[in-house]
């Protein structure tokens, strides 16, 4: 088993599935790069090089560069998915989903239901998410809540290379439309990743550490922030359980509820804006189904209700960090101490 980055793990998953299944195609802007230019083909392999080398192996019939027309990319993928292909569409930045929402949530997401269960729409939309790149308001968002809200879509957000590979292979083999969000700031994080293909089922959380005092639920890059906070808290004698749901739709509700039943405290860490978000969703789940177990308020550590700023100091302030998570944990634990004093 070799160490691989998330970037390499995603590439690996695509390559293995394209070898295994000839109906898998890649389609998107510059997934090869260089089409029609005076230089080389496969010039980029995606804007951050994630799909590099696939054009060379699979050719222009399966690694398809498109014009910058998001609605057509997604619509073509959806139409191809119901007619025999298994497309992986790349939408570069999740922010660009705004250009093509209709094709995602009125078309692909609803075929199966509208058509009375007769459609299968096996497509994956890969896209980069997240702040930290000094890319400002239109290239840095965390929009998973929008897709999680839509019945018919599955939403996957890997936090490490091992998960990225297994979840992407699962996504490609899955018969429903899957939104696969890769956090651009953690592409270089490395992990032990098997060379062969493997899948990780959706809706099964990864419990990174177990502690009795508090449950911290975090997703994508925020898993690392939560783990940093957990280490700092452990040094102070506070033991946290850290849960990475890995997919927001379906959501592993049981793992979260079972943990809160044991700890009595919940902190959710989410890079998205706070209103109607993944964080509020998990909070509502626990308030509804594990209220009796709670010994303190549920605390949410999120971005503020503002767009992602450009100025580096502002962007750093926008993104949740370990200090904020630590403070949130201490706040909910303090409430218990007050109540029992």
């Amino acid at each position: 088993m070799a160490k691989k980055s998330i970037r390499a793990a995603v590439n690996d998953a695509l390559k293995l599935e394209m070898r295994r299944d000839p109906t898998v195609i890649l389609i998107g802007e510059d997934v090869a790069g260089g089409a029609g230019g005076s230089g080389v083909q496969d010039a980029w392999g995606g804007v951050l090089g994630v799909t590099k080398g696939l054009y060379k192996e699979f050719g222009p019939g399966r690694v398809i560069d498109t014009p910058i027309t998001e609605s057509a990319i997604i619509g073509v993928a959806a139409g191809a998915a119901v007619s025999g292909l298994r497309p992986v569409a790349e939408l570069m930045f999740v922010d660009f989903m705004g250009v093509c929402f209709d094709q995602i949530f009125n078309q692909a997401a609803k075929f199966r239901y509208m058509f009375g269960g007769k459609a299968r729409t096996p497509m994956v939309i890969r896209s980069m998410m997240g702040a930290g790149f000094r890319a400002a308001a239109q290239h840095s968002q965390s929009l998973h809540a929008l897709f999680t809200h839509i019945p018919g879509l599955k939403v996957v957000m890997p936090s490490n290379a091992y998960d990225a590979k297994g979840l992407l292979i699962q996504a490609i083999r899955d018969d429903d439309p899957v939104i696969f969000l890769e956090h651009k700031a953690i592409y270089d994080l490395e992990d032990e990743v098997p060379d062969e293909a493997y899948t990780i089922p959706f809706g099964e959380a990864n419990i990174l550490r177990e502690g009795d005092d508090v449950t911290i639920v975090a997703i994508s890059r925020m898993v690392h922030v939560a783990m940093d906070a957990a280490k700092r808290l452990a040094a102070a004698g506070i033991q946290a359980t850290v849960i990475d749901p890995r997919t927001t739709s379906p959501l592993d509700e049981d793992s979260i509820l079972e943990s809160v039943e044991e700890t009595g405290h919940l902190v959710v860490v989410d890079e998205a804006n706070p209103r109607c978000s993944f964080a509020t969703d998990v909070a509502a789940l626990v308030a509804d189904r594990a209220f009796g177990a709670l010994k303190g308020p549920i605390k949410l550590v999120t971005a503020p209700h503002s767009p992602v700023p450009f100025a580096p100091n502002l962007e750093d302030a926008y993104i949740p960090n370990a200090a904020k998570v630590e403070a949130a944990v201490r706040a909910t634990l303090a409430a218990r101490e007050l109540a029992t004093a």
Partner: protein
């Protein structure tokens, strides 16, 4: 391009079925037997049938909110369609889709579409499948003059040319996007010229109530798609006999215009021509009319008697697995 007698009868049967279906759906809708609202295709029959007579089961079509005619022309079950429009169990989509979402993927019908301009990218996707899987199929995107202004249509047309796929765009220019006339809403004024600018052959059928004119133009476009593997387009100038939806009093259309539409009835024109040329007898067409009437009556009886979907169906079919 001379059609055999059997083909002519088939074309007439399809057109007569669409007309009878739509008139009955309109009547049942006004009576309150059908939930929601319906957009009827009556008056445009020559367009759907003139195009779909060139298609086989493995070919694809994408449709619109005014989709009943396309479904029937492509071969969807009339009875299952009627049950669907009634919102009943056993409908083509189990009662979960309704008039605007009738689909039958086994018949190459990618779905009516409640979103104006929603269909063209999907049809290009089916054309990409046909090309990649080498099925020999073509894919037709039906869209209206209203949808011709949508960005998705422009994107789909450009994408089809760039990807070199066998997609045919059929623009049914019925003169109105809802209640707004094409002379106002289409800035360039000429949809087929605008389509040709994307880099594909685009013809305009000035009289889309003439089945034969549509059939021939569609034949050229579809041959181009099949033989060259490249997109083409046909604009069909036609007319809705009714309003945008059933119950639309159409104050935006003059009496003169509506009378003209009635005079240019595609079924009447078809009948006149084939009987006049001695290709099919009037008695044979009358027989088709009787059979169609019986079929529609059966469909309505079946739909009215069909059970409602079980309440448990509310949350099924959201995913293949979850």
């Amino acid at each position: 391009m001379q059609l055999s007698r059997d083909k002519l009868v088939e074309a007439y049967r399809k057109m007569a079925t669409i007309r009878a279906f739509e008139e009955r759906v309109g009547a049942e809708s006004v009576k309150g037997a059908i939930p929601g609202f319906v957009h009827l295709y009556a008056g445009e029959e020559a367009a759907a049938v003139g195009v779909c007579m060139h298609l086989g089961d493995k070919d694809w079509i994408g449709s619109t909110h005014r989709g009943h005619g396309h479904c029937i022309a492509k071969g969807c079950s009339v009875e299952a369609m009627m049950v669907e429009i009634y919102g009943k169990a056993g409908g083509l989509c189990g009662g979960k889709g309704g008039s605007m979402h009738i689909a039958d993927l086994h018949m190459g019908m990618l779905g009516a579409n409640g979103i104006v301009g929603g269909g063209p990218p999907l049809a290009v996707g089916a054309a990409l499948s046909a090309k990649t899987l080498k099925t020999g199929a073509v894919s037709v995107a039906f869209l209206g003059d209203g949808a011709s202004n949508q960005g998705t249509t422009a994107e789909a047309m450009n994408m089809a040319v760039v990807l070199k796929v066998p997609a045919v765009f059929v623009i049914e220019n019925n003169g109105y996007g809802e209640a707004t006339a094409v002379g106002y809403h289409c800035g360039a004024g000429d949809i087929s010229a605008r389509t040709a600018a994307f880099g594909m052959p685009a013809e305009k059928v000035e009289d889309g109530t003439d089945f034969f004119a549509v059939y021939e133009a569609a034949g050229r476009a579809l041959r181009h798609a099949r033989e060259e593997g490249m997109p083409a387009a046909v604009e069909i100038v036609c007319a809705r006999q009714g309003g945008h939806y059933t119950g639309d009093p159409q104050p935006y259309r003059s009496k003169d215009e509506l009378e003209q539409v009635k005079k240019n009835d595609p079924l009447v024109r078809f009948r006149k021509r084939v009987t006049g040329e001695g290709l099919v007898s009037a008695a044979d067409l009358d027989q088709v009319d009787r059979e169609v009437a019986a079929l529609i009556e059966r469909a309505v009886q079946k739909a009215a008697a069909a059970p409602l979907p079980a309440v448990e169906e509310l949350t099924t079919d959201v995913y293949v697995s979850y």
